[in-house]
């Protein structure tokens, strides 16, 4: 027999519950965003519900204690401990709702249930509980952990030590529990709101860290900087070359990564005003070489054909032992690798887009030194990496520079002349990737260069601003970079018998992606012919994915599933690769922008 439960909290609704079912189960089943932090075990005291009307049994001693601690009023109960035995009218207070996991941009990050791997609970040890024969199993029971061998071996010593140093006095302790299995911390006092995680985007060039509150999902601090490994080589391959020479080189790369990360961690922690010792969990999204370096794994097999990674997915590691100065028992989760040159950063990016569970055909492109491309064709995922080279990052071009103040980042052709803007409105000091893309597109439309990339009128360069120009050689470099990405896209589409028209969407990731003019990207062939409306910028999707892995255990298992699901194909081995690559060096035919592209054109 079913009861009716009227929920007065916005938006008001009426749901049904079976006899004896807990109120939390009924609410969750109906899709209500209730925060059952401890999984409905009755140990966290967070899923408060105010019972406005209905017949309910009184709370038992444990529930009453939790309610007291939460400072809840007389009509309040814990939804997970309340069996439904009559029709009810309830109100759910705002602090019992699931925290929202912050996404990249509104609406892009899929909703993952808030369910961090690390959770903190308060444990009251009164005089009865402190009596030795009951203590060991008693604490396990309070935390709803099985008092098995693993408990005795890994967790219990922490409890014993904490109680001993606290003088065996009745006290409230705070426990940090990992994956509902292992104790990470057991300390006197109430600190259940001090649990933090570190999300890391470990890029070849740039490293970004984010401090995340594991209790309410908020982002508390952020820091980024250059990867200290850069002094051993600008790109992945040269760092691999360095690492395989001698074991001490590999150690240097590991230390450089850790040094970078500890500097960034200190900055983010200072901004958030938290102690690094209260960081219990770290999630790292990095390319395959980066995560191998960080863990001191051998990159020998990554250096030569058939280019294999030493690992794909790893069980959670001990962060402290891996060199992170955080809480002593904190865990380290490495976003799993898809293949040798499509790493955990792409796994995290895909996770952040929610593509795994989206019907349709999608393309995911992350343009950096390597252009990684993932095609979702129906339920099949194929990934490839293309050697786009450093041109889009400004290297190897006569006036190229990173996207920093003074870089020409936009160019338009208006009233018969080129007009450019720079980052920070500074005097032009050089040109960054987005600037080159705009410039090439303008030059093509205006016939200043041919589709073959030749500058018209026998000139050797085209002036952009005082002292800044695009040379014939620059155009050649850019043609090679564009062709690499374009070939990758075309090959992946061909493998699945798709054309750009069949795509339901295109996700552009990477710092570069955010500022790219899509129409110009299409005009030079960097992006496939796809409606502007279907293109989504997802920015630093890797970081967003790492954050999701801290805040949702399902996100972690999904990341593992992504790495297993996505096929990695070496494009160079494709028989059609060379022909398509050579053909892609010629810029596309000019097309008339479609109706949906509302943009001024020349």
């Amino acid at each position: 027999m079913a009861f009716k439960i009227q929920v007065l909290s916005a938006p008001p609704r009426t749901i049904e519950a079976a006899y004896g079912e807990s109120l939390s189960q009924a609410l969750l089943k109906a899709g209500f965003p209730l925060n059952v932090y401890c999984g409905g075990k009755g140990i966290c005291g967070k899923c408060l519900a105010e019972v406005v009307d209905g017949t309910i049994p009184p709370p038992d001693q444990e529930e009453a204690a939790l309610l007291r601690r939460a400072g809840a009023g007389p009509r309040f109960r814990l939804a997970c401990l309340l069996p439904v035995r009559s029709d009810l009218v309830v109100k759910i207070p705002a602090n019992a709702l699931l925290p929202r996991i912050q996404g990249l941009t509104a609406g892009i990050l899929p909703s993952f249930d808030f369910d961090p791997a690390v959770k903190k609970f308060l444990v009251s040890l009164d005089r009865d509980r402190l009596s030795p024969p009951l203590l060991e199993a008693g604490v396990a029971d309070l935390l709803k952990l099985p008092p098995d061998d693993a408990w005795r071996r890994d967790s219990w010593p922490l409890v014993r030590e904490a109680i001993r140093s606290a003088g065996r006095e009745p006290k409230v302790y705070t426990a940090a529990v990992y994956e509902e299995k292992t104790l990470l911390d057991f300390a006197p006092g109430e600190s259940s709101d001090e649990a933090f995680g570190l999300a890391v985007d470990l890029g070849t060039t740039t490293v970004v860290v984010e401090l995340v509150d594991l209790v309410d999902g908020r982002i508390l601090g952020k820091a980024f900087g250059l990867n200290g490994q850069s002094r051993f080589g600008a790109d992945v391959i040269s760092r691999i070359s360095h690492a395989i020479l001698t074991p001490s080189h590999a150690e240097e790369l590991k230390e450089a990564a850790l040094e970078t990360l500890s500097g960034l961690l200190a900055r983010a922690a200072a901004e958030a005003k938290i102690a690094p010792e209260s960081i219990y969990d770290i999630a790292v999204a990095g390319n395959t070489a980066m995560n191998h370096f960080l863990l001191g794994r051998s990159v020998r097999t990554l250096s030569v054909a058939p280019f294999e990674a030493e690992f794909q997915a790893l069980p959670p590691l001990e962060a402290y032992d891996c060199g992170f100065r955080v809480q002593r028992r904190a865990k380290l989760f490495i976003s799993p690798n898809i293949g040798s040159y499509v790493g955990g950063d792409i796994t995290a990016g895909l996770l952040a887009t929610g593509l795994l569970n989206k019907p349709g055909h999608y393309l995911f492109i992350d343009i950096g030194t390597n252009g990684e491309i993932v095609l979702k064709a129906g339920d099949r995922f194929t990934a490839a990496s293309t050697a786009a080279g450093p041109a889009f990052e400004g290297a190897s071009l006569s006036c190229g520079m990173l996207a920093v103040p003074g870089a020409v980042d936009r160019a338009v052709w208006s009233d018969g002349a080129l007009s450019v803007t720079t980052i920070g409105d500074r005097p032009p000091a050089g040109i960054c990737g987005t600037g080159y893309i705009d410039l090439l597109a303008c030059f093509l439309r205006e016939g200043l260069i041919s589709r073959n990339g030749v500058i018209a009128g026998g000139k050797s360069s085209i002036a952009v601003a005082a002292g800044i120009a695009v040379s014939q050689k620059d155009i050649r470099e850019l043609q090679l970079a564009v062709a690499a990405v374009r070939t990758g896209v075309e090959l992946l589409l061909r493998r699945h018998g798709l054309s750009p028209r069949d795509l339901d969407g295109l996700y552009l990731a990477g710092a570069f992606g955010n500022y790219l003019d899509i129409e110009n990207g299409r005009a030079i062939g960097l992006l496939p012919e796809i409606d502007l409306a279907k293109v989504r910028f997802v920015g630093n999707a890797s970081l967003a994915g790492a954050r999701a892995m801290l805040l949702s255990r399902r996100a972690r298992s999904e990341a593992v599933r992504i790495a297993e699901t996505v096929d990695h194909v070496p494009l160079a081995a494709d028989a059609a690769f060379q022909d398509i690559y050579i053909r892609s060096l010629v810029f596309p035919e000019p097309t008339i922008p479609s109706q949906s592209d509302r943009k001024e054109t020349s």
């Binding site: 040269s238 070359s241 054909a305 073959n452 081995a573 060096l585």
Partner: protein, 218 residues
């Protein structure tokens, strides 16, 4: 201008334009018209390839044009070669080259371009493909009495194998029999000098120039 000169000029133009069908047609026409195939190659098609080289150096031509022209040359040679006398065939050949992408590396577009341009310029090329074992370069060169070994590497992690190849040639006491030409994105003249290679080509045409110089000297 005579009809023959007209035809030779058309051959050259077809190669410069990358018009493969036209090159093939002109090759057939030249045979029907009784032209000496060696002259068609030298003064017609090969002259076109030379011109392409100039356009490349000027920056007017890029890889797609280079590939198209090499294809023209290949198509014309396929028609003309069977018609060459044994002595002419010998005369049309600059030398035999073994080429491949080094062990551990699978990137072979650059190598393929060098291979095509060497052929277009009259070398007989034995292309071993990618990820070629060091021993195989030597075995093939020995078996075919090649004079040139061309080795490409696209990664800093694999270019060390170019050095190992030269060491292996020394070990086998055959180093002096071959000219070794190295190339690939991370490779430069300094590297070529350091490992004791005989030549280096920054791009496909530079490689052809180096190959010609090396064989002319030996």
């Amino acid at each position: 201008m005579s009809a023959k000169d007209d035809l030779l000029l058309s051959m050259k133009t077809s190669v410069v334009d990358g018009n493969r069908a036209e090159s093939e047609r002109l090759a057939r026409e030249s045979l029907q018209a009784g032209l000496d195939p060696l002259e068609s190659i030298d003064k017609g098609f090969a002259a076109g390839i030379q011109e392409v080289g100039v356009l490349w150096e000027n920056g007017d031509y890029f890889l797609p044009e280079l590939v198209a022209s090499a294809e023209c040359m290949k198509a014309a040679m396929a028609v003309l070669e069977p018609a060459l006398s044994a002595s002419s065939r010998q005369a049309s050949r600059l030398g035999k080259a073994v080429i491949g992408t080094i062990e551990g590396d699978i990137h072979d577009i650059g190598k393929n371009l060098v291979s095509a341009m060497l052929q277009a310029h009259g070398f007989e090329v034995l292309d071993l493909g990618a990820d070629v074992k060091l021993e195989r370069f030597i075995e093939k060169a020995e078996a075919e009495s090649a004079r040139l070994i061309c080795v490409s590497a696209l990664l800093t992690t694999t270019m060390v194998n170019q050095k190992r190849l030269i060491e292996l040639l020394h070990q086998r006491n055959v180093r002096s029999k071959y000219k070794v030409l190295v190339g690939g994105a991370p490779v430069n003249q300094a590297w070529a000098d350091a490992i004791g290679a005989d030549g280096y080509g920054e791009n496909a045409l530079a490689a052809v120039r180096a190959a010609k110089t090396l064989l002319a000297r030996s």
